[in-house]
């Protein structure tokens, strides 16, 4: 059963935290990520896991979104086969030109306590605007 709450942007609280979750980053995930970004040395496959937005999507359902802006801070490249724990929260929300955005943020830490990275994403919550503007 889908227990996620429909997004009510007006009521979404800045600072709301999501339940921490974890996954094991495998060598296969790293290899596939490197294949995707055409970079044999790409060190942060965590980017493709979209962990901040994934945390939001575990709690809320909506009509989808488009990534408008994303920041990524590198601290330590993850090591394959280590379990990674993600802590995520709503960092901000804003309205611009009549459209609504939410800003999610997450940090990833591995099972040895190494801080891996921090990601901050601004998502436009009206994804159809992309097609209207760019086709």
């Amino acid at each position: 059963m889908d227990t996620r709450k429909p997004l009510d942007w007006e009521k979404l609280a800045i600072g709301q935290t999501f339940e921490a979750w974890s996954y094991v980053l495998t060598q296969e995930m790293l290899d596939e990520y490197r294949k995707g970004v055409l970079d044999a040395e790409a060190p942060f496959p965590t980017i493709a896991h979209k962990v901040d937005v994934a945390a939001y999507n575990r709690a809320h359902k909506d009509a989808g979104s488009v990534n408008a802006r994303c920041a990524f801070h590198c601290y330590n490249p993850p090591i394959p086969d280590k379990r990674i724990t993600v802590h995520a929260w709503i960092a901000d929300k804003y309205r611009r030109r009549g459209k609504t955005y939410i800003v999610t943020e997450a940090v990833s830490v591995d099972e040895d306590g190494r801080l891996l990275d921090r990601v901050i994403t601004h998502e436009l919550k009206q994804p159809w605007e992309v097609g209207k503007k760019w086709g």
Binding site: K35, G36, I47, A71, V130
Partner: protein
């Protein structure tokens, strides 16, 4: 190991070219274990969700390319342990696009442990249209700077 060198505002970051394919997009999306159609991997889902004529690449692919641009410039030893990039996505990137990422140093700031080098980055497609812009920075420790700058 990083190389000892100086950084000055106006320095040009060597460019990086990426040819986008649906295969690469699928690999990126699948690398997290996600399966099932999405606006990135399935044309019908893209049309329904975004209203676009086909699939698009995740902005996080461009983010990864911008990180690669600066990792190659600063060196992995430095950039992977203290570098960052902040990118705004201006246009969709689609399979078949060829993206060129460029950058230049816009500032250097002395800090207690070295020099923070600030870079502007941009991505353009084969039509010359800008698809993303942003900034990044990296703290270069004293040991990686010429003596007069350390």
């Amino acid at each position: 190991m990083g190389v000892v060198r100086a950084f000055t505002a106006g320095d040009v970051v060597p460019s990086l070219v990426k040819h986008m394919t649906q295969e690469a997009i699928n690999a990126f999306e699948g690398s997290s274990g996600r399966s099932g159609p999405s606006q990135f991997t399935d044309e019908e889902t893209a049309r329904h969700t975004l209203g676009t004529r086909g699939t698009v690449a995740s902005g996080r692919m461009s983010l990864s390319f911008a990180l690669e641009l600066l990792r190659r410039y600063f060196g992995a030893d430095l950039f992977n342990r203290g570098g960052m990039v902040d990118v705004r996505f201006l246009r969709p990137v689609r399979p078949g696009d060829t993206l060129t990422f460029t950058g230049h140093v816009t500032g250097v700031a002395q800090e207690a442990n070295g020099t923070r080098v600030i870079v502007e980055v941009a991505a353009t497609n084969e039509q010359g249209e800008t698809t993303a812009i942003g900034t990044g920075h990296c703290l270069v420790p004293r040991g990686f700077l010429p003596p007069e700058e350390g």
